[in-house]
Assembly symmetry: C3
Homo-oligomer: 156 residues x 3
């Protein structure tokens, strides 16, 4: 068992990989949070999409009126999709980057700026802040991922 443990904790013993694990978990949890925010807005705005979700509101027309789109729900769904489009590349490329032997301080800089940028992006989208607030926070996260991809392709 101890041999197995040793093998399994090899990567997690590496400081850069441990930093990656922390920040990848944080941004994935942030992305997952959007599911709860969507559910919150669907319930408070009474805006659903599946007939079976409004069955408890009564039968026929009285329930059907809750099968509608709501501007706030759609906004949260766009944040969630934008997270998928940007956090998925970060998690994938970030893993390869963490294994490409970067300096710990350089890696931490990449991971922290990305995580910060995505949290700012979510707030800028949700409040919403005037542009280019959201646009800039998106671009910062995008640039960090490109920078990591460049290091991966140079190493591999």
């Amino acid at each position: 068992r101890s041999g197995e443990m040793a093998k399994s904790t090899q990567l997690i013993d590496n400081e850069v990989f441990r930093a990656y694990a922390t920040y990848a978990a944080i941004v994935l949890l942030k992305m997952m949070l959007m599911s709860l925010v969507t559910a919150y807005f669907r319930i408070t705005r009474k805006a659903f999409v599946n007939p079976e979700d409004v069955a408890s509101f009564g039968k026929g027309e009285s329930a059907k009126k809750f099968l509608r789109t709501d501007a706030d729900v759609e906004r949260v769904r766009r944040i969630h999709l934008n997270d998928l489009e940007n956090i998925v590349p970060f998690v994938g490329i970030g893993l390869l980057y963490a294994l490409s032997g970067p300096d710990l301080s350089t890696a931490l800089l990449h991971f922290r700026i990305f995580a910060g940028a995505r949290i700012v992006h979510t707030l800028a989208y949700l409040i919403p802040l005037p542009q280019p607030g959201r646009g800039l926070s998106w671009a910062v996260g995008y640039a960090v991922t490109i920078s990591m991809a460049y290091k991966v392709l140079k190493t591999a």
Copy 2:
């Protein structure tokens, strides 16, 4: 070559990682299955979205009537998107969890409950089952991923 093989099979020799590989592949294949189900409903319901996809049905108005949305197609697309929103965090966080040195039995419990919950979720969405069937199966998968993330952040 044997040295290379040894290195490459290091992780796959670890029992927890092998369990992760099995269940990650299963849920990703389940997610990929939604593409085929979407194609099946698009073809049987004759509901397409791209003009070039209906060109074989004839020219002009006779083909354009198949450029429409269909309730069943949209339902399958929502399942697919929900899979992306939930299976992506499982695959990402699950990898870090598998490398954080959990007990094999605890890890198997997490992986099996998640895979089971997502299969139930798909069936509950597709049939559809009355709520809270789909909601509960979603929540179980969500809770498993949060539990793995907690272990990852505690270890890293």
Copy 3:
């Protein structure tokens, strides 16, 4: 530090993993490119979705007319979503496949065909080419991922 480096570059020293890292980075960058193409079409077609994005075009009705959908923008968004649905399984299953000890030549064949198929898929969707151009390129990428999943499940 050298011990740390040694550990961190272990996987990246493996030829199959290095090939995986290269092609995973390429297809993830290709997916990220869709964000820029969407932004390009939104700006040139003046078709936006968030009120704060059109605030610089003036106040009231003069700006609201740019809150609209555009066929080209929607097409690019469908390519992006299709990338998420197909490149995510490739990156996840491909990692497990790379760690399952395949021959370098077999692995390169899988990675190169997938990357080529997804680039053809994007071009076929964007131009658009007549069907079954896009359908076939999608099916080739799908089959490659299934083939890698089969190897992973057989090994694990």
